[in-house]
């Protein structure tokens, strides 16, 4: 007699492939389970990527969800994780085509999903810098809000995301070109916005673990730009620790 493990493997195979045998009756009702798990997966994906769905339409999104699930089936009982590989899937699936930018849009939407479930820590203000000697400042490393995500794209994906926060948004002019920006939660509210490239590269270097001085070198900021960037990260409540 088949073991429980073998029975579950055969049930799982029948959920993936309707022609696979499984010792249950009525076998035709396996379709209900097949649909349930496909709908659970797709619904979670739709909730995580509403702008992608709005741009491509529900029918094409359904096809994408089906293909994505074949390559990247759910690996957790927690549906939050279902969308984690969608950007990588779209990258491979849409590479070099007219919709290649959707992969970067997916990165923004996945970061939104991650930000929405991230904790918010108390921010520290610029006055914390007074605790250090002037010669120490260049070597300081910042810790940022856990929700902070930074993205750069050759496409205007921040503009696409922002435009699609209202219904029936018109397509965004792709000739707007590259954009970079941040995603984070502040006082419970989602913030997704593009940033000037120099400010972005400084913030990116800091969030990557660079020292204040190192980030200035990496981003090529001059002194006024550096002071402006420093003002920005404190004013926006992005910094939670300095060491």
């Amino acid at each position: 007699m088949a073991s429980l493990r073998e029975l579950q493997r055969s049930f799982a195979a029948a959920l993936r492939d309707s022609s696979a045998d499984c010792p249950v009756t009525p076998a035709a009702n396996l379709t209900i389970y097949r649909n349930n798990s496909a709908i659970a997966f797709r619904s979670a994906l739709e909730a995580t990527f509403p702008v992608i769905r709005a741009r491509v339409g529900p029918d094409y999104f359904r096809q994408l969800a089906h293909l994505y699930r074949e390559r990247f089936p759910s690996r957790s009982g927690d549906l939050h994780f279902v969308g984690g590989d969608f950007a990588a899937f779209l990258d491979a699936h849409l590479r070099d085509g007219d919709y290649a930018w959707l992969a970067d849009l997916a990165r923004i939407e996945w970061s939104r999903e991650e930000a929405l479930i991230a904790p918010e820590h108390p921010a520290v203000g610029a006055e914390v810098l007074a605790r250090f000697n002037p010669e120490q400042l260049e070597e300081l490393v910042f810790t940022f809000q856990p929700s902070l995500r930074l993205h750069t794209s050759p496409y205007p994906v921040f503009s696409v995301w922002l435009a699609n926060q209202s219904e029936n948004a018109p397509p965004v002019d792709q000739s707007l070109g590259s954009e970079c920006g941040l995603i984070r939660i502040r006082a419970g509210s989602l913030q997704i916005e593009p940033l000037p490239p120099s400010l972005f590269s400084y913030l990116y270097a800091l969030a990557d673990g660079a020292t204040l001085g190192g980030a200035m070198d990496r981003s090529g900021l001059d002194e006024p730009g550096f002071l402006n960037a420093l003002g920005f990260v404190f004013r926006e409540g992005l910094v939670t620790g300095v060491a």
């Binding site: 429980l4 493997r9 049930f11 010792p23 249950v24 009982g77 939050h80 479930i117 904790p119």
Partner: protein, 285 residues
């Protein structure tokens, strides 16, 4: 009178009254309307992480006793318990201090793939032993007794040698868990698979049943689909009255998960369950 902890948060036990399954769309209304329901139950997985959802549950939990109901552990999976998932359940139990914690008599993953559904088990001694071992493992790790719920079924394994109620009774005996009887699931499975719902309710040991679920189902031709998308049907209300007559007054939950109506509709369903409890035994204070 509900006992309160030092912060004024209601502690268990869950009263033997009707409660409602709390879904995201009702968080604000629950806070604003403060309906006179006995308790609330939330899906554990919806509150695994940080952010607005758990903060909303903390606010709701300040006004009502709470039960956490898991849908993702799949304790009957032969491949074993997903320890990362179990750790997240423990985090939620620690954070929200629920008076009851429940899961399902089902499996959900095989060969590394999760189906995010409540899949049916064969009713065999092997499956009893495996589910009971996993329930014990989860109970030991969580530090609470679990209630295990019977699921709706659309197929039966040819290998099954036990009736579903015999299977559940054996799992209780080998694990020390309690049972959460979903009356709608008993009804749906009995209609789909030609089983005797009354024999189920008459067979389960009285002392093992700690909670009851009620929900609506949909009809697709001859098949009943457990979609939690409508009011509880008359046949399920009749089975419920029979269950209460046998098991005594029990915490009873109204669940609604698709086409979710206004909170008032769930509250009205809960009031109907309260009337059944009252007519049968008199409401517990």
């Amino acid at each position: 009178m509900t006992r309160l902890d030092p912060r004024g948060v209601p502690l268990g036990p869950i009263p033997a009254r009707a409660g409602i399954g709390l879904r995201f769309v009702h968080h604000d209304a629950l806070l604003a309307e403060r309906p006179a329901i006995g308790w609330i139950e939330a899906h554990t997985e919806n509150y695994f992480h940080d952010g607005a959802a758990p903060r909303a549950l903390e606010r709701a939990r300040a006004n009502y006793p709470l039960s956490l109901h898991g849908v993702g552990l799949g304790l009957g999976s032969a491949d074993g318990i997903d320890r990362a998932h179990l750790a997240r359940v423990k985090h939620a139990v620690t954070r929200f201090q629920p008076a009851l914690v429940s899961e399902h008599a089902c499996w959900g993953h095989a060969g590394g793939e999760f189906f995010n559904d409540l899949l049916p088990l064969p009713y065999t001694e092997e499956a009893v032993a495996l589910l009971a071992a996993h329930v014990r493992e989860a109970q030991d790790f969580l530090g609470v007794q679990l209630l295990i719920e019977n699921v709706s079924a659309y197929v039966a394994f040819e290998h099954s040698r036990l009736a579903e109620w015999e299977f559940l009774t054996a799992v209780v005996g080998q694990s020390g868990c309690g049972l959460l009887l979903d009356i709608n699931n008993i009804y749906v499975s009995s209609k789909n698979l030609g089983l005797d719902a009354h024999a189920f309710i008459a067979g389960v040991p009285v002392a093992s049943v700690r909670e009851i679920h009620l929900a609506g189902h949909a009809r697709n031709g001859e098949i009943l689909i457990d979609d939690h998308g409508s009011a509880v049907c008359d046949e399920v209300w009749q089975l419920y009255a029979r269950a209460i007559a046998r098991f005594g007054s029990l915490p009873t939950l109204i669940e609604w998960d698709t086409d979710i109506p206004a909170l008032a509709t769930l509250v009205a369903e809960a009031a109907r369950a309260d009337r059944v409890l009252e007519e049968s035994h008199g409401l517990a204070a």
